[in-house]
Structure formats: structure tokens, C-alpha cells
Symmetry: none
DNA sequence: GATGAATGAGACTTCATTCAT
DNA sequence: CATGAATGAAGTCTCATTCAT
């Protein structure tokens, strides 16, 4: 009994280890330039064994997206501990600033993955990437709503879109200051919001 | 003499045709999923012949970026005919709206290319993609400057970043209305700007 | 003691279950396209466990041939209950007719197995398949002999060869009527035989 | 002009060389045990180049079947030079005898191919194998018809089926004398035919 | 310059077989 | 004995790049 549970747990852990390795390597190299051998190596697993856990490369890509979703959930769970919605959103922006060096080198993990997957004939993986972004949209909208701001969905779209945009530019220009500058603006915007509906780009 | 000129012209035309074909196919399929044969076919050129115009696939990718730069120049040249800088910027936003269906399907041509190229060990092609975006940044900043708005570079960063962000989300969610909604906000923002420095996301 | 016998019996049953599953799946898919996992699944046995009963895939293939031999023995044992040798042979032909739909889809189990195994460098398994066919030849010759027909081996060869031929054609053309037509001819031939030595194709 | 024709001819020749090599090696080893490298080696062509002529292994298998069809056509064309239909059929049987050693080792090329292909989910290749056998059936029926024998299709079925059957047994038992014995019977049968409708197995 | 053909490295994937518990 | 997991050797197929005419 314990044995069987242990084994199941170990298998789940290995699956997780592979998914995490995939998330890392895919962020680093992109989907098409990453080989299964790369992921296996990163996970410390022989190449042939990967197929015991994931039947195709595509499944592994989707598992990596699952990792990103899980990390997003951990992040928002942490932010949820802050009492004020506005502070949660500002803290979110701060995490973007904290990641700016990585972003300059590799872009937003989910965003770049979505960009690459979006052009495949099979839209399954792309949809998974979209779902992660929508999850962030939903959480963000919930904060705006709790805060009492009008049109919470619209504000959420603006904030998440701003993140994608500044990540893309930070990456394309290899310039972390893009993130710093835009984040500063976003923080000011968030501070200004309750004052009224405001007009915002 | 004329013959030689003709030939040189013909060669240049073929180069251009290949670059344009590359721009189209790379936007459609992404860099890594596109084969040289794909591009050759799209251009109506025999596969083996491509190498007389571009020594490597990488050169062809850079040529496609050159195409994007040229089209950007044509676009801004057209906008420059409008007398008021604010109207030029608003017209720019309108072109984004006009492209929204394509964006939903394939993303921003330059942005998705930059995302994919940004992860290569060799940064040459990535830099070229960054240069195209910077060109747009520069033109945009020039408009804000001509208009007399404070911190033109900062405002340009916000506008171009917004474009990248809304394109990424439009693509990831396959939802053209993302573009419509964000563009509406940007237009209002541009209209509100001269009224004062404003606080903007 | 009883325990040990039980265990031995259980083991034998599992061996048999695996062999029977192998016979089924190999008939369905052929030797090379069948994986050990396929057979294990069909038998309801975990994959890794197969190797406690059969050291190699080849042994499993031979066990499947053993199954076919056993079924042939059961068939001839049943036919032996008929009093007249000629009626036994005619009943044999009738079983071929009864199997015609399966034959159209998959061919003769032993025949197609023999065809596939016959090209292996290691002739062991092929010999086993040949032995099953020879067993049918022997039984058939015994019937002709008991019947008093001249050259019983020759007549047996003709009958068994006819079965292989019509099975092959039925399968290749996916047409069960091939079996019906040829079987009709064989039955007439068997009926005509005692009249004299006859000339037969 | 001549150049282009030469090249096209050369390409056709290489295709043919590959198909012929495939026919040989597939007969020798069977479909599933034959690798593309095997065929490439037999044809004296580097492995990667095979895909220039045949996009998949399956296409190569079908090309091998095309070879068998062509050889069958050459054979029947040769037989057609004989004036009497009965002599043509007897000569056909003689070719089977002449091939008996190869048959003992490898079986009938088309028959064993059909047996192996018949179990694939995709029935395309199997249908091609069936078509070759039907071609022989048609030619044989035409001879019986020209000869004036009743039920030419039925007689053709019997003769071709006999060939498949004796080839299968010759192969399974590794005994060329099976072919000799059955062929003798068939020749006697053909000789006896005009005497009357006859009863034949 | 132009073109079909050639090449070879490497990717993904499958599976018989073996291990560790 | 049982069983999930591990392993590594192939095998099919793709493609950027180069050749020979």
C-alpha cells in the first residue's frame, strides 16, 4: 500500500521534475530549438525515459505550460495575502520589475511560448498558453472589482496587456530599463485610479 | 552595359521577391517551422537557387526583417502627410485596428519574430528585429516631440509597448476585440493628452 | 503442497492466457507490428510480468503457434468423431467456409504467420509454423489413406495447398466469395474421388 | 533540352533502381524487418537521398509492388507469344517450377507481401498487392476464355489459388518438391481439360 | 547564374528487454 | 513472483546546405 503510494508519488514527482525542466529549457531556447534530449539532460533523465511520462514532445510543452500556470497560482496566492486589492496589483507590478533581467534575456515565459505556439496548425497547445494568460486576466479583474473600480475587465486587460508589451520590448531591445520605466508609470496609474475613472493608455 | 544593368536589376528584383516571400511565410509559420523550400515555393524560385541570393537561412530571415522595416517606413511616410502629430498617432492606432484579424491569427509580424529570434545564441538576427521596433519608437517619439508633449520618449515607449501588448494578447486569446478595446482606450488617451501631463498606464 | 500446486496451476493458466492472447493479436496485427505491450494488454497482464513466462518475444510467438497447433488438434479430434473419412474431409472444408469472413480480413492464422516468420534469419519459429501445417497434412493424408484413395500424401498436399491458396487470395482480394467458390469445387472433387484415381488440379 | 530530358531520364532510372532494390530486399526480408537503409544500400544510394524519390517508406513499398506488376506484365507478354492458350498456361506453371528454390526460401513475392500488408490499418498498400494478383487472375481467365473452356473465371481462380497455395506450402515447409509435385498435377489437369468440363480440386 | 539532385547530421519516437523494489 | 520504471539501440523522416551539370 505504502509502496504503491510511494511509487505513485515518485512518478508524479518525476513528471513534475520533467515539466519543470521543460519549462526552464523552453523559456531559454524556445519550443522548436529545444530537443527532447535537452529537456532530458536538464532533468537528469535518460532520453528514452521521457516517453514513459510524456508520449510526445507536444505533451511536454503543454506540461511546461501547466508549470507556468502553477507558478502563476502560487504568485497570486501569495499576493492574496495582502489586504488591499490595489496593493496586490502594485505588488504584481513589482514582481515584473524584479524579473526584468531575465525578461531582457528571454522575454515573458508564457508570452513568448504563446507567440511561438500560436502559429501551429494544431491550436491545442496555443489554447493552453492563452488559458494561462486568461487566468491572470481573471485574477486581475477580480482585484479591480474588489477594489470597486469601474470596468474591472477593461482595466485588467490594460494591465496584463501592458505587461506583455513591456516584456516584449524589454526582450526585443535587451533593455531592462524598459520594464522599469513602464512599471513606474503603471504604479502611478494604479495610485491615481480611485481619484476617478481617469483616461489611461 | 544595358544587359548587365538589366541583369543586376533582375537579380535585385528576385532578391526582393524572396525577401517578401520570406516575410510572408515567416509571419505565417514562424522561423523554425519554415523551411527554405517553403520560402522558395512561395517566391516561385527553385530551391537550389535561393543560395545565390542568400548564403544562409539566417540571411533570409534578416532580409524578411528588412522587408518589415521597409513597410514600416512606407507606413510612417504615409502618416507624415497628415498635418497634426496627434492625428498621425491616432491614424497609427487605426492601422492596428485594421490589422486585428491578422493579428489574432498570427500576431504582430515583427513582435513574434523578435520573440522567436531573441532566444538564439547568435544575437545578430534578434538585434535586427529590435532595430525595427526602435525605428517605430523613434518615429513615435518624434511625433510626441513635435506635438509638444513632455517626455516624448516615455510616451512613445508607452504607445509602442501598448501595441506589442495588445497584439500579444489578441494573438494568444485569438480575440480581435482585445485590439478594438485597447485601441479605443489609446485613442481616448491621445485625445486627453494635451489637456495636461496626465497619469497613464 | 496444495498451495504450491495451485500456484503452479495458476502460473500455467497465465502462460496459456498469454499464449492465447498472443495468438489473437498476432493474427490481427502480424508479428512485427505487434508489441509485447499489446499482448500483455490483451491478456490483462502487466507488461513487465510477461518476462516471467516468456523470456523473449520470440518465445511468445512460438507459444502462439502452439496455440494454433492445439486448436488444430481440437478441430481434428472433433472431426474424427465422424465415421467416414470423406465426411471428415468435407467437414474440414466446411470449417474453412465458416471462417471466410475472418480469413478475408486477416488471412489464415498459421499461413500468414508462416509467411512472415519464413524470412527470418533464425529459422526456429518458421519451423514451428511449418510443423503446424505438416500436422494438418499428416492428418489429412491419414484420412485419404483410411478412405483407400491412392497416393494419400499427394491428395493431402493438394487439399491443404488449396486451403492455403484460397485463404491467401480471399485475404488479398478481401473477398470471402473466393473461399465459397473454391470450397464448392473442393467438395465436388471429394465427392468425385472414389469413382477412380481422377485427374485433379 | 537534351540536358533536361537526360536528367528526367536519369531521375526515372534512379527511381526505378530504388523500386527494384526495394522489391528485392522486401522479398528477402519482409516489409517490417526491412529498413530504408537496407534498401538504400542495396540500391547503392545514400539513405537520405531515398526521400528525394519516395516521401515515405510506404511509397517505396508500393513502388516495389509496381515492380512486381511490371515483371508480371513482362512475363505474360512473353507467354502471349505462344500460339495456344493452353500452352501459355502450361508455360506459366513451368515458370513456377523454375522459381521453386527461391520460393522455398522466400515464398511468392506478391503473396507474402500481400499477407504482410493485409493486416495494416491503412489498406492502401494491401489493395495494391491485391491488384497485382487480380491482374494475373484476369490474364489467366482470358486464356481459359480464348481456349473455350467453360467458366474461365472459375478456372483462373483455381489456377492462381493453386499457385498461392503451393508457394505458401513450399515456403513453410522449405521444400521445393511441393512445387514440383503440385505443378505436375496442374499440368496433367490442364492437359485433361478439353476432354470435358471435368471435376477438379 | 540556374537547377535538380545529393548529402549527412540530427530530430522525434518506438520497443524489446532489464531493473529495483 | 509482481510491477512500474528505466534504458538504449534502432528506425523513420526532415532539412539546411552543397554539388554537378
Amino acid at each position: 500500500m505504502t509502496n504503491s503510494v510511494d511509487r505513485r508519488t515518485q512518478a508524479a514527482q518525476k513528471r513534475r521534475r520533467l515539466a519543470a525542466a521543460a519549462a526552464r529549457v523552453l523559456h531559454e531556447q524556445g519550443v522548436e530549438r529545444t530537443t527532447l534530449a535537452d529537456i532530458a539532460r536538464e532533468a537528469g533523465v535518460p532520453a528514452g525515459n521521457v516517453y514513459y511520462y510524456f508520449k510526445t514532445k507536444d505533451e511536454l510543452v503543454r506540461a511546461a505550460l501547466g508549470e507556468h500556470r502553477d507558478r502563476l497560482d502560487e504568485l497570486t496566492a501569495g499576493l492574496d495575502r495582502l489586504p488591499a486589492p490595489r496593493d496586490r496589483l502594485k505588488a504584481l507590478v513589482e514582481t515584473w520589475v524584479a524579473e526584468r533581467e531575465t525578461t531582457a534575456r528571454l522575454g515573458c515565459p508564457t508570452g513568448t511560448l504563446a507567440a511561438e505556439l500560436g502559429k501551429r496548425a494544431d491550436g491545442t497547445a496555443a489554447a493552453e498558453a492563452g488559458a494561462v494568460l486568461r487566468r491572470l486576466l481573471d485574477w486581475t479583474a477580480a482585484q479591480f472589482r474588489a477594489w470597486g473600480v469601474s470596468d474591472p475587465e477593461g482595466h485588467a486587460l490594460t494591465l496584463v496587456s501592458a505587461h506583455q508589451g513591456m516584456s516584449a520590448l524589454t526582450h526585443a531591445l535587451r533593455d531592462p530599463s524598459v520594464t522599469t520605466r513602464e512599471a513606474t508609470r503603471l504604479l502611478r496609474w494604479l495610485d491615481s485610479l480611485p481619484a476617478g475613472p481617469g483616461v489611461s493608455p
